[in-house]
Amino acid sequence: MATDTGQSNQQNTGIGEDRPLKRGPLSKWVSSSIQNPERAYRAMFYVATVFFLFTTLFPFYWLLVLALTPQNLLTNVGLVPNGFNPMSFVTVFERVPFHIYMFNSLVLGIMTTVIVLLLASLAGYVFGRLRFPGKAPMMLAILAISYFPPAAFLIPLFELFTGNVAVPLLGTSLVFGEQLYLNSPDLFNTPWAMVLPFSALFMPLSIFILTTFYGQIPDGLEDAARIEGTTRLGALFRVIIPLSAPGVATAGVLTFISVYNEFFFSFLMNNGEAQNWAPLVGGIIGLQGQFDTPYHLMAAASIIGVLPVAILVIVAQEKIVSGLTAGALKE
């Protein structure tokens, strides 16, 4: 049929069925698609893929365009940079200690991930492998906590972390003749003011992922470990967790990305200064000067800020998908 394409397609189509019809490329494609729907699906698939690639990646391209455009040419920027000024990537670090903000973000992410993995491992073991009364209501309660908007926690946590909450020490009025109070520690402007809320907020998801993974380890392996001489906790750390490594990795990656992305507490639980553990949020908002708005620097900083999670996604994407497949959703 390929040789027919070049010929005239003026001819009427009502000819005998045994002869190949002469058609234009489009109608030919359409008819062959009807006979062979796979091709139509294939075409739809390519169109959709290209569309999605464009829509997800264009905003990053736009950041690059702005970052490379010199500040004095930042008006009516089109689809290509107005000039070439890679120095803005350096200027970002000169204007604010952007590396410290990034470091703070990484530290907060790692601290939260460690805490969440530890606590969620214990809880996941309990929910995935033990039978006890009150299990289902407790899982629901933990899930319900994640429904509340962070705003509902904000005011008391702010008071708590600024040392304004006094806990009466029981019995002190009897011993010392007056009631003594223990003031809550002043955690504002420390990592803990963010790490603690992050941990509470993101722990439920990890608990559900790890519950599923730990629940799938055959009972025999845990029994074997205990017969061989571990305690119940020993079996968790020596056998169950190592065997659930993909699930632990998934939970860890998701927690880290969540912390790195978080805005609410990252913005409100510090004064925005790098030495006070303000994360990325502080760095990018801090670029906005009092007298000017350096769009090219904001764009450059955004690109730099995305890099760590972009790398993480590239490395861990299989894990993220398979971890979710393995059952975060089944609960």
């Binding site: 969620a120 933990i142 429904y147 908007p149 705003a151 005011i155 609410f264 993480l312 979710l324």
Partner: protein
């Protein structure tokens, strides 16, 4: 071999002593229930201090009037008056934007906290589901370079909210880009009447931008969850369908869709909860004055130290989310029962 049982090399645990061994022995002898609660204790303690204590305190605060003088943080006890005032829209004196729409016009609805939050939630979750589903279908295919396409589609989800806000701020800030023109030199979007020339201070334009920004970032999350659902479908079902002569469309309609419907419902539930608490993207793109979402009200009344009002709005927001969650759960139970 039986004669040298446990003879050398090791000490039998029963002969060891010390606090560590005592602790281990104590833990091993806990009943299953006691052991379960023992291991849950750290997680529960964290949730108690960081989540439950604040929730209870917030609720308590919501029963007090705002402080009048600068020194105290709360005024007198007023019971449910804050709630009454908020729900009858008489709290505007303490809030930057009304809670309920003052008029049933488009402008009236989007300038109220509840109206703008609900519109944002419905529109963004609707488009995220549709597009996320399409993306999941693409990602579910087996093709060369799938790994990189997948990375490209997932990446927006991993972008920090502050950077997401920055991106859309930079796209729509008048003067720098080609998306927004001036009245003399309108851009394509201006000419089509989609946005005005100062979109970031116009409430309707800003709502549109924030919705697009949210769809851009979180569709990937939706796609991931739906993809996870698709990949957990037993592949042999498709073989059965193919042998029975089902076309790809029929396979989709009869197998894929019904089997991932529960997944989609759960994913929509997650997204709805998150969308109703929207704050960061607004703060970083247009600011809370332009798009006053519920969380915006809480933060701004918190910043102006009207704690009673802030707590009330926070709790009402949680209650509204609770209502929406219950609706989903009821619907979800229906969908489950339908099979």
């Amino acid at each position: 071999m039986a004669t040298e049982q446990e003879s050398q090399g090791a000490i039998r645990d029963s002969s060891r002593s010390g606090p560590y061994v005592t602790a281990v022995r104590w833990m091993e002898n806990l009943s299953e229930t006691a052991f379960a609660y023992f291991l849950l204790a750290p997680a529960l303690l964290l949730l108690l201090v960081i989540a439950i204590y604040p929730l209870v305190t917030t609720f308590g605060m919501s029963l007090f009037a705002d402080a009048i003088s600068g020194s105290a943080s709360l005024g007198e006890f007023v019971g449910i008056q804050n709630y009454v005032e908020l729900l009858t829209n008489q709290k505007s004196y303490a809030l930057p934007a009304p809670f309920l729409p003052t008029s049933l016009t488009v402008g009236g609805i989007v300038s109220s906290a509840l109206g703008v939050t609900l519109i944002f939630t419905i529109v963004s979750v609707f488009f995220e589901t549709i597009i996320g589903f399409a993306q999941a279908l693409v990602l579910d295919q087996d093709f060369r370079g799938r790994r990189w396409i997948r990375v490209a589609i997932i990446i927006p989800w991993a972008v920090p909210i502050v950077i997401q806000g920055m991106i859309f701020f930079l796209l729509f800030q008048p003067g720098i880009g080609f998306l927004v023109g001036t009245s003399q030199n309108p851009s394509l979007l201006n000419q089509l009447g989609i946005i005005g020339t100062t979109p970031l201070v116009n409430t309707i334009d800003s709502l549109l931008i924030i919705t697009v920004a949210d769809v851009w970032k979180t569709t990937a999350f939706m796609a991931l969850l739906i993809l996870a659902g698709m990949q957990s479908i037993d592949r042999s079902l498709y073989d059965v369908a193919r042998v029975s002569g089902a076309s790809p469309w029929q396979q989709f309609k009869l197998i894929t869709f019904p089997l991932i419907l529960p997944t989609i419902m759960v994913a929509m539930l997650f997204r709805t909860i998150a969308a109703m608490r929207v704050y960061g993207i607004i703060e970083t793109t247009t600011g809370c004055q332009t798009v006053p979402s519920l969380s915006c009200l809480v933060v701004s009344s918190f910043s102006s130290r009207t704690y009673g009002t802030a707590a009330t709005v926070a709790f009402v927001t949680a209650a509204i989310i609770g209502v929406v969650v219950s609706i989903y759960i009821v619907k979800f139970a229906d969908a489950e029962g339908g099979f």
